[in-house]
Symmetry: C2
Subunit: 413 residues, 2 copies
């Protein structure tokens, strides 16, 4: 990879080569970050070249990705999700310049496709025929889908409590799903043992440093879709921390090669019932585990593996940490749906809830250019949406009764 | 609309103006079809102009759509869904050149967004602030989502039996949902009365001739994505008939202005348990109602309102009618998911099941260029997907037990 210099440990700074078997730091076990040759990339990516590029997927940014020049790209159309200007929603939030990035429109309906696409390309290039991870959520379904399209097998390890509904997408994608009689830790450990034994490609975000590189493409798109105007604030929901770290890396990459001239401030949104990263940001103490009490299960991560990376990113950006309640998340789901036509899953709508709160608390000015990322499709979690949705009218087929019901409910037809 | 000449009745041939209030035939009540000025459109659309067009949504074809030049386009990014070459799936189906068009990646996750986007643009242009329809399915959710994004209110009438899960997306989009104590006919009639009384914009595919015009954009995309090579066979699942009629119109439009030099043969796929259109095609008798027994609820239409239009389209194309069982649909869901990474709802996968059957019966040769349209996302109907999906392994967290389970099940890790 001509564009990659190596990998550096986020915790101790130790330098590593960026190879097929590069996972966590050999010295301290910390999470690694990929380091690029920006002088070289500058010669490859310019605004003009991007404008002429007809590849409308994350691969339009391949010069910024840790994949070999000769690597076979995976076939699903990941990325280049729409960025909507949302004036009516902005009004409701108190923002004059609000944009919504709908990443729920990725092939398996979440932002995680960006990471899994990179994983699949790297796995194929490394000569692997099988990929594996432990997850019940979007990481798993995106891996299963991208693997299937890329001609790889996938093994997914899930904890006992994984709801049957979450497994359906995996099974349809042909993944071999191992439901482990135990909790997430048990599933993670068994997946690690099996990956070690069988030599499968490891797509656990806890240790694979290439995944957040895929995620950073969402930032490239936001910048390009805004014609390289940089958002003042960018709201993201935060669970493990890998996504917000990736998003920050994306803007720093663009800044490093001079495609943008400043950086956004990140708004890190967590659920009140599970906010270890925001808590550490607020109290300045090291990350400590938390229980997981929130409807937004995609960001219910009590022990975030990329927490340090995330905290560093949020701090560097001069960012804001906001926690939101389940009620605020449900309100944001309704606002996104009814005012912008975007159906986000609870974790996906949480960023919008946090942005609303930041504006309400005077942390984000009303005339700021703000972007909220919807990280997953609401169809992924209809039980959550059901709690957020209102009720239908229920009447016999009679126009008079309908008119009466409108009047009773104050609906002006 | 400089590009539109008028509307003609599919049944009696009576000519009409194409106005805001043009719905069914004033003479016989038949369904209308929009007629274009191809000489004019020829001056507007060329391969070169399309290649230079940076709008990657259905609006790139606005010169082919019944919307005024000054009309405000609706904001959701509808259309330009991916067309995947699917070699592994093709192998399983016995096809050397198979492509899958994944229309489940539209904003509300179905092809119906194409029709609803056109409806919303027309409604706004006609000065309406409210749109309405009767539907429990994709037509309703696409209308609700596109209306919300376009700043319109929506009223959706659903029959009593509509499952709660189907209403969630509507309610999140802020639609006012009227659940009518009765069947679909009751909901349709009450919606018609209310639309008449309140002057709402009518998005019932049974009578609005502009909707299939939106749907035809899927054909434009298929042609353009294949670099104007025309598929030999195009498989579509058929319920009301509006979609397959729109798809045929799209290819005829392209042929009329010389962008393609021949037309595909349509494969009309219906469920064995509800196939009034295919039955009429087979026996040459007029359409007769059928009961609705299939898991593919999006195409379970016992009384298709656009049946005549569909039958004419299929016949004109030299098409094939194939009925598939629920088992064949579920098999197609698994094949699409595991070999192409595409998760289709039952009705969306039905086309692929039909294509497989057509190849198996020798109706479609193995070297044909074939396209199968996936009309909706599998997340729309996880209950259906659950029936199709296999089972997970279920073991304690122990590597030895995992190895034993692999051996027992014949899984080579």
């Amino acid at each position: 990879m001509r564009n990659v210099l190596g990998a550096v440990c986020v915790s101790c700074g130790a330098e590593h080569e960026a190879g097929d078997d590069t996972y966590t730091c050999e010295k301290c076990g910390g999470v690694l970050e990929i380091v690029y040759d920006y002088q070289y990339i500058k010669t490859r990516i310019t605004r003009e070249k991007l404008a002429a590029n007809k590849d409308h997927s994350l691969w339009r940014y391949r010069d910024f990705l840790p994949i070999a020049a000769e690597a076979k790209l995976s076939p699903l159309r990941v990325g280049w999700s729409p960025l909507y200007r949302a004036d009516k929603l902005g009004e409701a939030l108190g923002l004059k310049n609000l944009y919504i990035k709908d990443d729920g429109l990725n092939p398996t309906s979440s932002l995680k496709d960006r990471a899994s696409a990179v994983a699949v390309v790297r796995a194929v290039h490394a000569g692997k025929d099988t990929v594996a991870c432990s997850s019940t959520g979007n990481a798993a379904s995106s891996l299963a889908g991208n693997a299937a399209a890329g001609g790889l097998r996938s093994f997914i390890f899930v904890p006992d409590r994984a709801p049957a509904g979450k497994l359906i997408q995996l099974l349809i994608f042909g993944a071999i799903v191992v439901r482990v009689k135990g909790d997430y830790g048990d599933a993670f450990r068994l997946s690690a043992q099996a990956i070690e034994k069988y030599g499968w490609y490891n797509r656990n975000a806890a240790i694979n440093p290439y995944l957040s590189e895929g995620k950073k493409t969402v930032s490239f798109e936001i910048a390009e879709q805004l014609d390289f105007k940089v958002p003042d604030y960018l709201a993201v929901s935060v669970g493990d921390g890998c996504t917000i770290a990736g998003i920050w890396k994306g803007f720093k990459d663009l800044y490093a090669i001079g495609l943008i001239d400043r950086l956004p401030r990140l708004i890190s949104v967590q659920a009140e019932g599970c906010c270890p990263i925001n808590r550490a940001l607020a109290n300045g103490l090291p990350l400590a585990p938390m229980e997981e009490h929130t409807m937004a299960d995609s960001i219910a991560v009590g022990v975030p593996r990329n927490g340090e990376k995330a905290i560093r990113a949020i701090r560097e950006s001069g960012g804001i940490a906001v926690n939101v309640s389940d009620e605020e998340i449900m309100e944001a789901m309704r606002l996104l749906g009814s005012l912008a036509g975007v159906f986000g899953e609870p974790a996906g709508a949480a960023a919008t809830a946090g942005l609303k709160k930041a504006v309400g608390q005077g942390l984000t000015p009303g005339d700021a250019l703000a972007v909220s990322v919807v990280t997953g499709n609401g169809l992924k979690d209809t039980a959550g949406a059901q709690r957020a949705a209102g009720a239908a009218l229920h009447i016999p087929p009679d126009l008079g009764l309908l008119i009466g019901e409108f009047r009773r409910l104050g609906i002006r037809p």
